[in-house]
């Protein structure tokens, strides 16, 4: 009995930590999709870039974890502004196929570039000492890194949600997701809004990539390896939704952890089947508008 409970707690705990990373990486994709209608398959590239910057700063330059994350966020956010202005912006009116092809091209180039610079293998993530080991909570002990991950992620997510609710930028994003034409006629500069949102989403992805470098190992195929999971989070959550993907990520993170723990032979299989069943029931996702 106690073994069952402790397994359940462990699954919930690890699943939640995984879910937080999935959400922080994916939420930007949902907003880009809802706001610009852009099928950005290369979203994971920004997370990967964030991960590489973070681990490189930590491993090679001894920069502290928090500072590395912050720098990764900034670097990727700024780079994404350049990429959005020069490339993405030219394809907002293009067909979905063109957007898909363009972003696949971007993924391929990113894989090649990452292999060239960092080699084909996953990066070693030298966890800060404070995050190694376990922490005691009541009668149980939990890995400190994952506990830290959950706490920090919740803080980031609350900050994001509050920002979307309370700030001017947030209000404009919500208005434009609801009705782009209306927002334009209200005088919202959608071009600049797109750039800002894109940069914000990319910076968040970079943060997720760096934070979760222990869970989703940083390697050249990162953007493809986890693409389906990012897409599941966004589709099940409902394209354009900000909170939907959070619940989708929780379902996926905990479900995936449970499956891999309980039925390792068919774990992934079950997740895909469940996703299909769910979308068969609600094609627009849990929180999407039909």
């Amino acid at each position: 009995m106690d073994a069952t409970i402790s397994a359940a707690v462990s699954i919930l705990f690890h699943g939640t930590a995984y879910a937080m990373i999935l959400y922080i990486v994916s939420v930007g994709l949902s907003v880009t999709m809802g706001l610009m209608g852009f099928a950005n398959l290369a979203h994971g590239v920004f997370a990967m870039a964030g991960g590489y910057v973070t681990v490189t700063l930590m491993n090679d330059y001894g920069v502290p974890f928090a500072a590395s994350l912050l720098i990764a966020c900034l670097v990727v956010g700024l780079a994404s502004i350049v990429i959005e202005r020069t490339l993405y912006a030219r394809l907002y009116t293009a067909s979905e196929l063109e957007q898909v092809l363009f972003t696949i091209g971007l993924i391929f180039m990113a894989i090649a570039a990452a292999k060239f610079v960092w080699g084909p293998f996953a990066q070693r993530f030298a966890m800060p000492e404070a995050l190694q080991g376990q922490i005691e909570l009541g009668t149980r002990s939990f890995p400190a890194y994952r506990a830290f991950l959950i706490v920090v992620s919740i803080a980031i997510i609350l900050g994001l949600w509050l920002g979307i609710e309370r700030t001017n930028l947030g209000a404009r994003i919500r208005a434009a997701v609801d009705n782009r034409r209306m927002a334009q006629s209200l005088g919202i500069n959608t071009g600049r809004l797109f750039t800002l949102t894109f940069a914000l989403g990319s910076a968040l992805a970079a943060l997720g990539g760096g934070l979760g470098a222990e869970i989703l190992a940083i390697n050249p195929s990162y953007a493809i390896e986890h693409l389906v999971y990012f897409l599941i989070v966004v589709s099940v959550g409902g394209l354009g939704s900000i909170r939907g993907p959070f619940f989708a990520a929780l379902l996926l993170g905990i479900g995936d952890t449970a499956c891999k723990y309980l039925v390792p032979e068919i774990g992934a299989f079950f997740i895909y089947a469940a996703t299909m069943a769910l979308l068969l029931w609600r094609p627009a996702g849990l929180f999407g508008r039909a």
Partner: protein, 335 residues
């Protein structure tokens, strides 16, 4: 709404043009002439030739749903793989006759296409893309885990195929395989060509161009899409079956995102929705891969990525599109 007598007596040229559009043009025979000539010119490359035909057929099946019906998929290799494994497993288990094995491959893939199509074609956009990926990953997992019958990660070995019609033995130079693949490709091409020019095929184009309007003229849109998806899956399965039979081996990567992506890229290189994009893109891609990728796979990926981006930015019609534009330019200059 019966037309007045005048126009039915002397048929207007516009009507004539619409009815006769599918008439065969001489240039459409060019690929076949090249394929036959290549047999005699490059006897050392027959194995590669057969593989190219197989990929052309695979890309052609993709063109049917992507180019005509507008369904974007990153998981088409799922059907190629189901076909390959069906043909391969049949042969390993004792059914060595090639034609029936190939038909079985097509049917099995079509069934998987039908079932998955019924599920995924209820969605669109990013969700649909995700589901096509999910299906290819699912089947990959299934093939991997069912190692006792598929050979798992080691691949399926021990495929033995009888001579075609009991007369043409698969030889070590790949001569039989070359002709076998070419004939099957020809039949597949004739079939797809008939299909895309039929009212059914035109209605697929209509769905791609404007689905709202197709609903409003009473088209059962989802049924058409599922039908097209099933046919396309069946053709992809035939291509996969051909690969299994001609190489007498099935590797796990026949069901993969990588192969799905590769066939998509071949089609895009050649030109999508043109029927002949597959005939240009697949050979170009495969010959380039044969020459370049073995030297350095990292650079290969880099260049493929760059070319994709350039194509999207500057040459949306692929190679055939570029040829079109060049022809227009020449004609315009002459005027």
């Amino acid at each position: 709404m019966i037309p007045p007598g005048k126009s039915s007596l002397k048929r207007p040229p516009a009507v004539e043009a619409l009815i006769k559009r599918h008439r065969l043009r001489p240039i459409e025979l060019l690929p076949w002439a090249i394929a036959v000539a290549a047999y005699f010119l490059f006897p050392g490359y027959l194995a590669l030739g057969a593989q190219i035909f197989i990929m052309v057929l695979f890309a052609l099946s993709l063109d049917l749903i992507l180019g005509y019906a507008g369904i974007i998929t990153l998981g088409h290799a799922a059907f190629f793989g189901v076909g390959a494994y069906t043909a391969g497993i049949l042969a390993v288990q004792g059914w060595h006759e090639p034609i029936s094995g190939l038909i079985a491959a097509g049917v099995a893939a079509a069934v998987v296409g039908l079932v998955s199509g019924l599920v995924i074609l209820r969605t669109h956009g990013l969700t649909l893309l995700m589901l096509t990926l999910a299906i290819v990953f699912m089947l990959h997992e299934a093939a991997n885990k069912a190692g006792f019958i598929t050979g798992g990660a080691d691949g399926l070995q021990g495929i033995a195929i009888d001579p075609i019609f009991g007369a043409f033995r698969f030889d070590m130079f790949g001569r039989t395989a070359y002709w076998y693949a070419l004939v099957v490709l020809f039949l597949g091409w004739a079939f797809v060509r008939l299909l895309v020019h039929s009212p059914f095929g035109r209605s697929l184009t209509g769905i791609r161009e404007n689905v709202v309007r197709m609903h409003a003229i009473g088209t059962p849109v989802r049924r058409r899409l599922v039908t097209a998806y099933t046919i396309s899956a069946g053709l992809a399965g035939v291509a996969g079956g051909l690969l299994a039979q001609t190489t007498e081996f099935v590797a796990l990567n026949v069901i993969s995102f990588e192969l799905s992506g590769a066939v998509l890229i071949m089609l895009i290189f050649g030109g999508v929705g043109r029927l002949y994009g597959a005939f240009i893109g697949a050979p170009v891609y495969m010959i380039a891969e044969d020459e370049l990728a073995k030297a350095d796979p990292v650079y290969w990926l880099f260049w493929i990525g760059l070319i994709l981006i350039l194509l999207v930015m500057f040459a949306r019609g692929g190679i055939l599109g570029l040829i079109d534009q060049a022809m227009h330019l020449v004609r315009w200059r002459r005027k």
